[in-house]
Structures are given as C-alpha cells and as structure tokens.
C-alpha cells in the first residue's frame, strides 16, 4: 500500500505527462451544452472540439462540478491504494468542487483525507498539485507538504487577457464583469486571479495592447519559481508570449497549457495568460 496519493480536479490543467508520472488522480468536471453533459477528461470532450464548438454554438454552455458519486468512487479507490489522500482543489469561492470533495471525504474516511482549497485555477492549482506530488515522491511528511503548498498560495498569481468580456459577464461568477454594461463591444479585460478573487487588472481594446499589458504585469512580478503559459485555443499567442518572456523562465522546462473547457466556458476563446509562483 502506498503512503500518500494526490487527488485534484480537472481545472488544474496539469500536463498529462506529470499526471501519469506521479499517478495523480484527476476528477473530471463537466460542461453542458444544453441537455448534453460532457466530462472534460480529454476523452468525452477534447480541448480542440470544445473550443471549436464554443465559437460556433448557438447554446452557450454551462459548467458543473463532478457528481458526488463519481468523486466518492474515485476517492474510495485512492483510499484502497494508499494510507492517506491529499486532495487539492479549485477555490470554494468560485466553484462547488471543493464542497463535493469535502462531502466525499466526510462520507468515506475523514481522517484519511486532507483537503486543501488551492485558491487558484488552471496551472495556479497545477503548480501546487505538482509540488505536492514531487514532495510525496521524495518522501516528505504530509505536514511538510501541506505547509509547502499553503506557503505557495499567497505567491501564486494568474494574469490573463481575455479576448472579450462576454463570457466572463455571462458566467455571473465575477460581479464586476457581470455588472459590465458597455457601448464598446470590443473590450478585452485583463484579469488577475489571486487568493480566490478575480480582479480587473486592466482593460484594453486591442490584442497587441493585451499582449503588452500581460508582459508588463508579468515583468513587474518577477522573479518566479514556477511559470506556465496559458491559452484558450490560442497556441500562437502562447508561443509568442513565451518567446517574449524567455528570460524569466525558472530552471524547469517551458510549460504551456491549453485551458480546460470548464474554465474556457467562463473566459471564452482566444484568451492568453500566465500562471506564476513568485519567488519568496
């Protein structure tokens, strides 16, 4: 029996190589196109299909947390294989995923599951999951891992330039965006996710300004221990961004993640961003 298994949810955007390498258990979240509910597990719904549908669909999709039953089933299997489970999830303030994990743990084995609200999404969550997995493999104690993950949180930021405010507005989860009522159709919010809050970092009206603003915000926050480039069906943009910020890479390889559909529903296609952990 293994000492510790790491669980998370599919909003973490952790590249599959790492998921496999550390045997991380990823509970899928769901996207609904009308009556059709699809798991963003990369099988039922691939990123490529999703973003193509997102642009063309007349029905705007919605999202949902994993069903309790499925979460329980995955957690039960992990508890069969390991003495203890460390689950790190999307922020409770932005999603009910955390609560689903909480209920699952409560009904199974509350003392054998440690649950952490990551306060982040995408690779902002992914970096915490990866750190926990690396430490677990290296034999670190649970307390040390939890402390390390919590210590990362205040240093973790996501900046993203959305192509339009419409998705964030329709999503309703971000009050300032929901309240937006503008004569400008073309407005691109630059958002900042930190400590479970989505802030408006700036607003621009062109893609080149969006790009420059991202670079400016990122440079002001350097240096980093972790840096990942994020995009929603915008690989060229992510490529250019990674080239423009080449000098800021930490020691590890360049990580680029296409953001999972469940987040894509809320931010829209053609977005560009970064998830960083600042050096302490």
């Amino acid at each position: 029996m293994r000492r510790l298994l790491i669980m998370t949810d599919s909003t973490c955007d952790l590249p599959s190589a790492w998921v496999e390498r550390y045997d991380i258990r990823v509970v899928p979240t769901y996207v609904q196109f009308g009556q059709e509910s699809l798991a963003d597990d990369g099988v039922q719904l691939t990123r490529k299909d999703f973003y193509r549908r997102l642009i063309n669909t007349p029905i705007y999709p919605t999202t949902s947390a994993p069903p309790l039953g499925q979460t329980q089933a995955m957690m039960a299997r992990a508890l069969d294989e390991a003495e203890h489970v460390l689950a790190i999830t999307a922020p409770a303030k932005l999603s009910s995923i955390y609560n689903t994990f909480h209920l699952a743990a409560k009904t199974l084995a509350p003392h054998r599951v440690t649950l952490i609200d990551s306060t982040q999404l995408s690779m902002g969550l992914g970096w915490q999951v990866l750190t926990a997995a690396e430490m677990a493999e290296a034999g670190a104690e649970l307390e040390a891992i939890v402390a390390a993950v919590r210590a990362m949180q205040p240093r973790t930021h996501i900046w993203a330039a959305l192509d339009s405010i419409q998705s964030l507005r329709s999503s309703g989860r971000v009050s300032w965006a929901a309240a937006w009522l503008g004569d400008f159709f073309k407005i691109k919010p630059i958002i900042h996710l930190h400590d479970s809050e989505v802030h408006s970092a700036s607003r621009v009206r062109t893609t080149h300004r969006a790009f420059d603003t991202l670079i400016q915000l990122t440079r002001a926050a350097a240096p980093f221990s972790h840096l990942a480039f994020l995009h929603t069906s915008n690989p060229e943009g992510a490529q250019r961004l990674s080239e423009a910020l080449a000098d800021l890479y930490p020691q590890r390889e360049i990580v680029t993640a296409e953001v999972t559909p469940v987040i894509g529903v809320h931010v829209g296609a053609k977005g560009l961003g970064l998830a960083v952990v600042r050096k302490s």
């Binding site: 009522l181 004569d183 159709f185 607003r203 621009v204 062109t206 080149h208 603003t213």
Partner: protein
Amino acid sequence: MAENTSPPPHDRAACDGEALKRMAAAGRDWLDRHHATVNQLNVFPVPDGDTGTNMLMTMRNAVQEAERNGSNHAGQVAALIAHGAMMGSRGNSGTILSQLWQGFAHVLKEQEALSPELLVHGLREAAETAYRGVIQPVEGTILTVAREAAEEAEAAYAETRDMVAILERVVARAKDALERTPEMLPILKKAGVVDSGGSGLVYILEGILLHLQGQAITVEHERAAEAVENLAAALAPEDELGYGYDVQFILQGENLDVNVVRAAIDQMGWSTLVVGDERAIKVHVHVHDPGIPLSYAVSLGTISDIVVENMQEQFHEYVRERAAEQGDPEPEIALPEMDEESVAVVTVASGKGLARVFRQLGAAELIDGGQTNNPSTQEILEAIQRVPTRKVIVLPNNKNIILAAEQAARLATDQEVIVIPTRTMPQGISALLPYDPQGDFEKVAAAMQQAKDEIATGEVTTATRSVELNGVSVQEGQIIGLIDGALAVAGNNIGQVLKDLIAQMCAGDCELITLYYGANVQEDEARALVEELSALYPGPEFELVYGGQAHYHYLVGAE
C-alpha cells in the same frame, strides 16, 4: 456700475480700490466688445476653445467678485479680482490671465491705493507669476505680451511718474509684441494669425488705458447676453406666483433718465437690468404681468425689440435640454464601489454618448464641456470636491482645459489630485481603460498616463475660416480632418474626408478604429460609412459608438 463705465473724473493721485474695480471693469468691457475678434484667432480653423470667450468669462468673474465686496482697499480689491479670476478661469488663456492677476495682487497686498510704482512692480510680478504657472513657457504667446508690457512699464517709469503715460507706452508695446508673435511662433505665421491670448490681454490693457484717458466703454448687448447665460439662476422660482415672464425691450425717446427708469422698473419685478443713455434704454426684467413695464415704457417713448417669454415654459425646456444633453443620470450604470481611500476619476465630457462611455468605464464625476465650452477652474474644482474619495484623477480631454484642471487640482487642498493631460476625448477614454478604483494611486495614474498615448485621435469638423496650413488649403465651410490636433485633410464631403483621414491614420500599424459620431450625424449614415470603410480597409476592425458631441461630425480613435 459696470454696465456703463462712464468716465469718472480721473484723479491721478488717488487710485483706490473703487478706482481699481472700474479699471478692471473697463478692461473686461473692452475685451467684451472685441472677444469675437479674439475667438477668430485660432491656428486651426476648428470651432476650438474660444480664447476670447474664455478670457471674458474669466474677467467677468474677476470683476464680479470685486464688485460684490464693498472694499475700497486697493490690495483687497486686487486680491478679490485675482480670486474671482482664478475661480472663473476657463481655457488656457483664462488660466494664464488669472495667474497675471495673482501676481499683480501679490504686489498690491498691503497697499490702500495703486501708485505708478506699484503698477510697474505689479506688471512685472504678474508676468513672472504667469511664466511660473506654465510648465513649459512658450514665446509668442500671451506670456510674451505680458513680459514685454512689464519691461516697457519699467522703462517708462524711469522717465515719467504719470500712470496714464506709463500705460500708453505699455499698451503700445503690448500691441507691438502681439504683432511680432508670428515671428516667434512659426505655427502662427503659417496660419496667418497673431496669438489669441496675447490679443485678449492687449484688449484688457487697452480698455484700462481708455478708461483712464476718460473714454466711455459701454457694452449693453453683451450684458443682456450675460443675463441669459445666468438663466439657471434667474429661473429659480421667486415666489408662490411661479416663474412669471421674462420681458425685454428697447425704449427710445428724448431726455430719458436711466436712473429713474431703472428705479421704476425695479419696483415692478426682479432680475432687473436697465442700461443705456438719454436716447435709448435697454430693459430686461422678470415680472408676473408683462403689461405693467410695457405700459410704463410706452408712456415715456417708443418701444421696440420686444421679447416676452413664459419662464415656466423656459424652465421646463431648460430642464429637458439639460437632461438630454448631459445624459446623466444614467441610472443603469453602476458606479465602481469606492470608499475614502479609493481612487476616483473626474472627467470632462462633451456629448451624451461620450458621457455614457466615460460613465461605463467608471468615471465618478462628469463635467459637461469640451470645444467652445471650456469649464471653469471652479466647475472642475467643485466636481473634484463632490467625489467622496481623497485621491482623484482628472481627465481634461481638451488641450484648452488642461491648465484650468491643473489649477483646480492645486486648489483642492483636502484631496490628492493628479491631472492626466489628455488632449482629446478618445485620449481620455483610452486613459480611463486601465483605471482601477482600488489600485495604488501612483500606479493607477502611471498606467492611465501610459494608456493615453496609445491612441491616435482623428477629428472631422467644419472649417471656421479659410487658411492654408501643413500644405492643406481650406475654404471656410469646408470639411476638414485633423490628426492629433494637426490639420491633415480637407474636402467638401464628410464621408470623403473621413475616408482620407482614416487612410492617413491607418498608414502605420492599426488594429481597431473607433468612430464616435456627433450630435448632428444620423446613425444610419454613420453605419453606412462604417461599412464602406470596412470594405476599403480590411486590416483594422471598426467600431461605431454614439458620441453626441457638438461641432465634430466624427471623432476617431485609432489604436
């Protein structure tokens, strides 16, 4: 009284506070008579900020402030004039004019009367204060005229102690300096004009001189116009009978006594204005029964130019217009959440549509104004003070409002105020994009400062006079296009000028063109034009937004 600055028996020995008020009033009235001429002196033939009107408004407020107060102490009167000028200052020239009065008042501070010596010192300090008030003083402007006037006063004082003789030389030199402004400032030479602010100053100095020489300066019709300008105040319901009627007419006769007529009219109603001489008297009065003043006047002579208006209707009309023009309140647009420590934005906006856009982007206070309608320092100051935060950013959005905004910022001593010197409405909108009410004050201001320079502004308007400039030849009444304030294209058709303008603006890298159509443009024609433009220029995206601005058919933001 000021409306009839009849020549006082000039006492060259005692120039007390009352005398100083009369001098300032004469300067104001002479400028009043010539302000339209000053307005014409624009470098670009655009319906611009109206230097003459702005300086006149500044002088009116200055004299009014002094006249409201009974002081006969020259130093106190000068301080009142300076204060009035500062609070009433509009446009860059008006603001510099207020600085001139500040300097002058500083020298007179403890003085009961103005002497030739103090006049000379006062003119010097006036010029120096004005230079200090401008970040980058430019020669060939009102500053040069003020400085040379001061130099001449010093030279004259070495030869004579006669105030009138000194002022004669000062005015002659000021005129001479004004004539030379095109030699100092190439843009004036190209446009074939002298500096407008300098010209306004010459009229003020000349008015003072004419008054001291014993010449009468009367400006009756403008006074009546001023009364109409103060409509809002005049329209306050005076009693339970309601608003009553606004009655105006001209009484002609022989041996009329203005003072007797004024006293009689004053008994009949309120807001009385009676000016004129023994042969013609202009009457303006608010009454409940228009028949009473008219019957009275007929008993004295013949009446003409009769205007009787129902003020109840006027008031309702006024309220409707204000509501329509300001586009504010916009109840559905929520203001950003703010507390005392937040950063708030105060912005000048011209036109209902632009006001909406500024509101949507989070501006807390809007000041109606723009071209030909520059708000005063006081109006800007009041808007700053209405904001419930300690940190305020001001967007003047017009090159003629920047100085007044900076002056207002200095006067708002209970708040920290930063003026981002935006010169156009599209620049102001661009600056407002990164605004974050909860951000760090300095950082927010820096981001906004940067954003203002990330857009080029195009303007399409109708030429107010003929000129040849920047290789573009324009006839009065033609349509012209400007890029960042410089004349770029001219033609006879709004659509064609807009296309030519956008061709020039899109020569470089350009991703988005926002067109704000003005109050006199129909949405359909604007939409049709945008379709044509999109076909002509497939590169950039186009966005059409209702601006509702006066004078400018289209404002263009290219980024």
